[in-house]
């Protein structure tokens, strides 16, 4: 409906959709929003810590780049978050709200750990790695497949379904820990790290993970932009009508894409267990499945931008941990800052997509 012309009570302003603004303007809007976020974060920091914000930001950089070891760990954590973000991206591009990455990652963790525990010692170390990797991929894919099938055939609400699947996965891990008696002491629910089935050390503990995820990033970038399947995902996401018109089987694309999405989550689970923790618990994924949704969305589903957004979020995590240490606050300060930054970036999208028009003094609104 067009804007109704009313002389009496025309609103002071109205909002119209923009035609699209040049990319550089969009990035200026985003940059301003991050800047504003930094300002607000500084205020919040002063308010809560009563410290000089310059010192605080200094501490943040120290926390993220302080020593070589820290930088390596920073990049490892960026890689792990990026991996999960890459996993959820094809689903999002298809407008399938996969909020179940956390569970898919955890299933990957569980499969990796279980494989090593059951097969460890009976097969050679390289074979063990391959089998546990395969198990992780399958487990993640299955966890993604279940909601996808119901979505494809019955349009079952995928957001709620995948959310619930996360908690089922968490429960399954606790259940497995108890049932298979993996605990180090009875009743602790803590599992001792694996000694076998671990990723080989190349230069240090982190490089293999970083390189793997770099490959996956490249793969996903190519997959989404240069392959037929990636193209189909875009078409289905933009318009199911068009997809039907050109003969794309939407159900197949949904299921196939969620298999891939789940499998890469499974890979992230494998990297977490085999390359980082060596152990498994319901918290192994550490909320990455949820943070990944924000990383992917903030990057507009572009794998290359996702390197930047995951860097941003992990930087805040590391930085605020250092603030915590230096100023004797607690860890969760980082989550407050992360939240503020995300709010600002989310909010800025509005100014990229819409335009606020002030009231015109003409008679006709149109």
């Amino acid at each position: 409906m067009s804007n109704i012309a009313t002389k009496k009570h025309e609103p002071l302003f109205h909002i119209v959709k923009r035609n699209a603004i040049p990319w550089w303007k969009a990035w200026i809007v985003r940059a301003i929003s991050i800047l504003l976020a930094v300002v607000v974060c500084s205020f919040v920091t002063i308010l809560l810590t009563k410290q000089n914000p310059v010192l605080v930001w200094g501490a943040m950089f120290k926390g993220a780049f302080g020593t070589e070891r820290i930088v390596w760990r920073l990049f490892r954590d960026i890689s792990l978050l990026l991996c999960v973000s890459l996993a959820v991206t094809p689903a999002f591009k298809m407008r399938f709200w996969n909020c179940g990455a956390e569970g898919q990652v955890l299933m990957g963790c569980l499969a990796t750990f279980a494989t090593v525990r059951f097969l460890g010692g009976t097969v050679s170390e390289p074979l063990l790695l391959v089998i546990s990797l395969a198990a992780a991929l399958i487990a993640g894919a299955v966890w993604g497949l279940i909601p996808a099938v119901f979505y494809a055939f019955f349009k079952t609400n995928e957001t709620l379904f995948t959310l619930m699947m996360n908690y089922v996965a968490k429960g399954l891990i606790t259940l497995s820990i108890i049932y298979f008696q993996w605990e180090n002491t009875f009743g602790s629910q803590i599992v001792s790290p694996l000694r076998i089935g671990r990723l080989p050390k190349v230069y240090n503990d982190h490089l293999v993970i970083i390189l793997t995820v770099a490959l996956i990033t490249l793969f996903m970038y190519i997959y989404l932009n240069y392959t037929k399947q990636g193209y189909e995902i875009s078409v289905v996401g933009e318009s199911e009508n068009t997809a039907n018109y050109i003969g794309i089987n939407v159900k197949n694309v949904v299921i196939r894409t969620m298999l891939i999405s789940g499998a890469i989550c499974g890979l992230a689970g494998f990297l977490l267990v085999s390359g980082k923790d060596g152990t498994v618990s319901p918290d192994t994924a550490d909320g990455r499945g949820f943070t990944a949704i924000m990383v992917s969305w903030l990057a507009k589903f572009n794998p290359i931008y996702m390197i930047i957004t995951s860097f941003l979020l992990v930087f805040f995590q590391f930085g605020s941990k250092e603030i915590t240490r230096s100023f004797r606050l607690n860890d969760d300060f980082s989550e407050i800052l992360t939240g503020i930054v995300i709010f600002f970036i989310i909010g800025s999208e509005f100014f990229i997509n819409y335009q606020i028009k002030m009231r015109k003094l003409t008679k006709e609104g149109k």
Binding site: A20, K228, G230, Y231, E238, Y245, I246, G247, I248, N249
Partner: protein
């Protein structure tokens, strides 16, 4: 009763950008009268009515209700003057009952009591003889029941002037009879009813007077009792204007696509195609004439494999002499059979193209699957995109511009260009010149004629009779999902087609 009109429009004009939707229209409706507004698509009927119901505000002119000049700036204002409009697209909440929908949005300061509202709804249904249960949920209702809810909604708010925008388009003959009985009862109750329609027989059987609109102008208002189908048709379609489209004579024609007795039912259970049969020949342009929404979209989508059929068959005869039945095949399966079918759908950016993708990627929609590689080949689509931009003079910064940013005419050139580039044997185009300027329109006509000369069977769905008569070799006419006749494009008259479009069969027309 005094002699003032219930509603009177004086010198109403309305402009949308450069388009003059209504020009100096005068119209008056008495109390206890059914007034029909007759006109082709785009003649400004709905725009005019929207100005009475507060959706638009006129640029010029005055509106009088019961003899007093009024300003109507919102649907709420219209209600205050007891004017209510029933739109073509129902605005109802699916999971609500009829009563809940009827009272939605009313804030009369009284205590909210659904049982009381329900009683009043029953009172209205009894008074006018509506056939509806106030407790039934909308999603369980047929289209006609939903329409009834919309009418009661308006009556419940105390409307004395009811405007119905093409109320019969979605109804079965029996439902139409029922609706008309109700409308007559309302008229006898002293209400004024304005009904927008294209259907001649309805005008004649229902209305007291008819106002005819053409190209935004009020042509005449006549007493129904003293007019005829032929007079009304002539008033509605006007004199034939020659467009000088270069039409060549068909040669080497053969039956390419034989559609026999196909029927289809839409998701709401309404029959949208009713035993449709026709043949499209190679080297010929077959026109499909009809009021918008008479089943043209479903017909083309059925051929393209997008609309399920309940009966009939669609036979494709390839130039090599093979023939296939396309019914029950998906678009992919049709393509795999080697059937070269191109389709320019009505919804360009919602179906034919992906708005956010650039021209190259849109070119790929048809061809991306070619070859065994898992990777996309963007080289030939890029070349194609450049060719189309060049040859059809598409105004665009470059081929990497998202098509959403292009103007309507350029979007259409991209779409038609792509469909033709697939070297079709059958080319279907639905309203390919809708919203296009003259130059772009002629580009499209020329493209279609070129295809015809190349031996393609072209199916052209149009709404402008002048264009259909100047472009097409044969024209079939569809009304309410039925084929009402077939004429030769070179000899048929506008009136002849116009009468068939309004639901009269060829025999009745002659």
């Amino acid at each position: 009763m005094d002699n003032t009109y219930a509603i009177e429009l004086k010198n109403i004009s309305k402009r949308f950008g450069t388009v003059l939707a209504n020009n100096n229209v005068n119209l008056s409706v008495k109390r206890g009268e059914i007034m029909a507004i007759l006109g082709e698509n785009g003649s400004g009927k709905t725009t005019l009515m929207n100005m009475i119901s507060g959706i638009y505000y006129p640029d010029e002119g005055q509106i009088f209700v019961n003899g007093e000049e009024v300003t109507i700036t919102s649907p709420k204002d219209a209600f205050n003057y007891s004017i209510g409009m029933i739109h073509q697209h129902f605005k109802l909440v699916d999971v609500f009952s009829a009563t809940e929908n009827i009272v939605l949005g009313i804030n009369d300061g009284k205590r909210y009591k659904l049982s009381e509202a329900r009683r009043q709804v029953l009172e209205i249904t009894e008074k006018y003889g509506f056939d509806i249960s106030p407790d039934k949920k909308i999603y369980e209702m047929s289209v006609s029941e939903k329409q009834t809810v919309e009418i009661i909604k308006v009556l419940y708010r105390g409307a004395d002037i009811l405007i119905l925008d093409e109320p019969t388009a979605v109804l079965t003959p029996q439902e139409i009879d029922k609706l008309f009985a109700v409308l007559r009862r309302m008229r006898d109750d002293g209400k004024s009813i304005i009904i927008i329609t294209h259907k001649m027989n309805e005008v004649l059987s229902l209305s007291d007077r008819v106002a005819v609109l053409r190209k935004g102008e009020h042509i005449a208002t006549v007493e129904t009792a003293s007019t005829s189908v032929s007079e009304l048709t002539e008033l509605m379609v006007g004199k034939k204007i020659s467009l000088n489209i270069n039409r060549t004579d068909p040669h080497d024609t053969s039956d390419r696509l034989v559609v026999s007795n196909i029927s289809s039912v839409n998701s709401e259970g309404v029959t949208v195609l009713d035993k449709v049969s026709f043949t499209a020949r190679s080297g010929e342009i077959l026109g499909i004439a009809g009021i918008a929404g008479s089943g043209q979209k479903e017909l083309l989508e059925a051929i393209a494999g997008l609309q399920p059929l309940t009966e009939g068959e669609i036979k494709y005869n390839s130039p090599e002499g093979e023939s296939f039945n396309l019914r029950k095949r998906t678009p992919e399966q049709i393509r795999e059979l080697g059937v070269r079918l191109s389709f320019v759908p009505e919804d360009r950016l919602g179906m034919g193209l992906v708005g956010s993708m650039d021209i190259i990627d849109n070119m790929m929609l048809r061809s991306y699957k070619k070859g065994h590689s898992i990777f996309l080949n963007r080289k030939s689509p890029k070349k194609l995109a450049e060719e189309i931009v060049d040859e059809l003079e598409v105004a665009t910064p470059d081929v990497k511009t998202p098509v959403r940013k292009l103007s309507g005419g350029n979007v259409q050139k991209v779409l038609v260009g792509r469909e033709i580039a697939a070297k079709p044997k059958v080319l279907m185009a639905a309203y390919p010149v809708r919203g296009l300027d003259i130059n772009s329109s002629y580009t499209i006509y020329n493209l279609l004629n070129e295809q015809k000369d190349n031996g393609v069977a072209v199916i052209f769905v149009g709404e402008d009779l002048d264009v259909l008569l100047d472009l097409c070799d044969r024209i079939i006419v569809i009304a309410s999902g039925k084929i009402t006749g077939e004429v030769d494009g070179r000899h048929a008259t506008k009136e002849e087609v116009g009468v068939m479009m309004t639901g009269n069969t060829q025999k009745e027309a002659n």
